[in-house]
């Protein structure tokens, strides 16, 4: 038997009672979260230009999302090969089309990896390709990569390759500084899915 009842834990002394302003701190926190998230969108919207006209890349048409602009200095038109570069902040979507390709999407992706990515990066890691469906329900392949440039910047990217019904091949190369690609993923996905090929 316990010798004497064990008292309940004493309440805090009255003069130590702290008045809790229950609502103000959560409201302030919600405002801070809104600023960190929606504030970023607000800044982006304020700095963004309205969506521009469709960008033609050979026989491929891309509708840039708001905030994405084409870099005219990076245009390439060499015979059947065409390239346009869309950027938003530190992210870029490089669209390369080749007319009259008869290869499948896997071959196109492999060639892009060997001739473009391995040239661009001094260190490169890639995932295995996986099948996807892109613009106009075209079958394609997609792989992700993590590369280090010659000036030691780490870049993450996703390459999507597809071949249109008319034999036009297109490669969408979305890239950004490591850790920020997820932030533009929805825009990139919308532009790829909305592209018109061939």
């Amino acid at each position: 038997m316990i010798g004497g009842a064990i008292p309940a834990r004493p309440d805090r002394a009255p003069h130590l009672h702290r008045t809790e302003r229950r609502w103000i701190p959560p409201i302030a926190i919600l405002a801070l979260i809104a600023f960190v998230t929606a504030g970023a969108r607000g800044v982006e919207a304020a700095l963004s230009d309205p969506p521009g006209p469709a960008v033609g890349v050979g026989r491929v048409r891309i509708d840039p999302r708001p905030g994405w602009t084409e870099e005219p200095a990076l245009r390439l038109d060499e015979g059947p090969a065409h390239r346009r570069v869309l950027t938003r902040g530190g992210a870029a979507l490089i669209v390369t089309s080749v007319e009259g390709r008869r290869d499948d999407a896997s071959s196109l992706a492999a060639e892009y990896l060997e001739t473009v990515l391995r040239e661009r990066f001094v260190q490169l890691r890639v995932t295995g390709p996986r099948p996807v469906t892109v613009a106009d329900a075209l079958p394609g392949v997609r792989f992700a990569y993590l590369g280090v440039t010659r000036d030691r910047a780490t870049v993450e990217g996703v390459v999507t390759a597809a071949t249109g019904a008319a034999g036009d091949g297109v490669v969408f190369d979305a890239l950004s500084p490591e850790g920020s690609l997820a932030g533009v993923a929805s825009d990139v996905g919308a532009m790829i899915d909305g592209a018109r090929v061939g």
Partner: protein, 396 residues
């Protein structure tokens, strides 16, 4: 004689405080985050089933020991499990999901410094501020839900570290599967780079520092002016942000060996990361050691004068101030008087720590709350000694 200890309501609060608006804000954001993150991660499993399973196994090997280590850092008062798990859940779900929403700041960097600078320095300029702010909000919410539980710098470090650990877990899953490739070999490579080589320096440290800032600001409300508290708290949080920014920056990256790694280059990887991460790790270790020593000094100061009363004896204080001695005392009690006695002794230790808290907060030694807490400890001691074999040898 059978002893049935009374159920004693300790001051430890649980995470679940439905009367507090802060709890509902926390819950809503964690649920939102869980839905968002589970949806985002679910697509990764299709990359490789074996890689997916290996990812979780390897991350468990990292997360569990780190969690145990951090949890046991608090010498005298372990935090309630529901609160530390709540901190972990905030980091894993709410902070990660909200980070995904905070897009657009990179464009501000590009507008201010140009696209090339944004590509090179963007991750160092935007992600640390955004991520540490969102993780820090979780620590503040934990405080608002259970103010009594975040009452010193070490508590802040513990909660902050758990927020960071949850964040790191989700981030590593994405890296192992989506960035490194997802196959078992890719996952192992990712584990070597992100955990073995650099796991000591990362979100656990950054958020731990932010948490220490929060802990300092709220635990010195009665003995430091607001300006001093804000200055110190901001400094600690800034150290976390700057450590994160240095980690994300291209500085020192040129030392990283070229891919594919061969032979001795595998050893260079942890060395390069150590150059980036060791300074911050050193700062945090020093801060934690200082905080633990402060805790012990506080315990001594608060309880030394109490040894002439019923709350604690000099012998009890001797073992209370040393966690190893406390564990030995509980072990010895279990051996000579059984598990019930060991349980009461553990409760006596907790209430004697609480005696120190009450003693350090009241104005006079005859304060009713202090007297009641002394009596509470005395009654626990009486209950303990009533168990055959539990009384000290001199009393038997």
């Amino acid at each position: 004689m059978e002893v049935r200890p009374h159920h004693i309501h300790l001051h430890h609060r649980s995470l679940f405080q439905p009367r507090l608006p802060a709890f509902w804000l926390y819950a809503a954001l964690v649920v939102y985050g869980a839905i968002r993150i589970v949806d985002a991660l679910s697509g990764l499993a299709s990359i490789s089933t074996s890689g997916w399973a290996l990812t979780w196994l390897l991350l468990a090997l990292y997360v569990v020991p780190v969690a145990v280590l951090v949890y046991r850092l608090d010498l005298h008062e372990r935090e309630p499990i529901s609160l530390v798990l709540g901190a972990f859940a905030w980091g894993a779900f709410a902070a990660t999901a909200l980070t995904l929403e905070a897009v657009g700041w990179d464009r501000v960097v590009a507008q201010l410094f140009g696209p090339e600078a944004a590509t090179r320095w963007g991750p160092a300029l935007t992600a640390p501020l955004v991520e540490e702010t969102l993780k820090g909000i979780g620590i503040v919410l934990i405080y608002l839900i259970a103010r009594d539980e975040l009452d010193d710098v070490m508590d802040g470090f513990v909660y902050g570290a758990f927020v960071g650990l949850g964040f790191a877990l989700v981030e590593d899953v994405v890296y192992f599967m989506a960035v490194f490739g997802g196959s078992p070999a890719d996952v192992l490579r990712g584990f070597y780079v992100r955990v073995i080589s650099s796991g000591l320096y990362g979100h656990v440290l950054y958020s731990g520092l932010v948490g220490m800032g929060v802990g300092y600001a709220v635990s010195h409300r009665h003995d430091r002016p607001l300006g001093t508290r804000l200055l110190v708290a901001t400094g600690l949080a800034a150290a976390g942000v700057l450590g994160h920014a240095l980690w994300n920056s291209p500085v020192v990256s040129s030392l990283y060996p070229a891919e594919p790694l061969e032979g001795i280059e595998w050893v260079l990887v942890p060395i390069v990361f150590a150059v980036k991460g060791l300074p911050l790790l050193g700062i945090v270790v020093i801060a934690v050691v200082l905080a633990r020593r402060r805790e012990t000094r506080w315990l001594d100061r608060a309880l030394m004068v109490e040894t002439d009363g019923d709350g604690i004896t000099p012998e009890e204080l001797g073992s209370l101030r040393d966690p190893a001695a406390r564990r030995r005392a509980v072990g010895a009690m279990r051996q000579r008087a059984g598990p019930a006695a060991a349980d009461i002794l553990r409760r006596l230790h907790r209430e004697q720590v609480h005696l120190a808290m009450v003693a350090s907060r009241v104005a006079t030694r005859d304060d009713p709350a202090l007297a009641a807490q002394r009596e509470h400890c005395r009654s626990l001691r009486i209950a303990l000694h009533a168990i055959p074999g539990a009384a000290p040898a001199a009393d038997r």
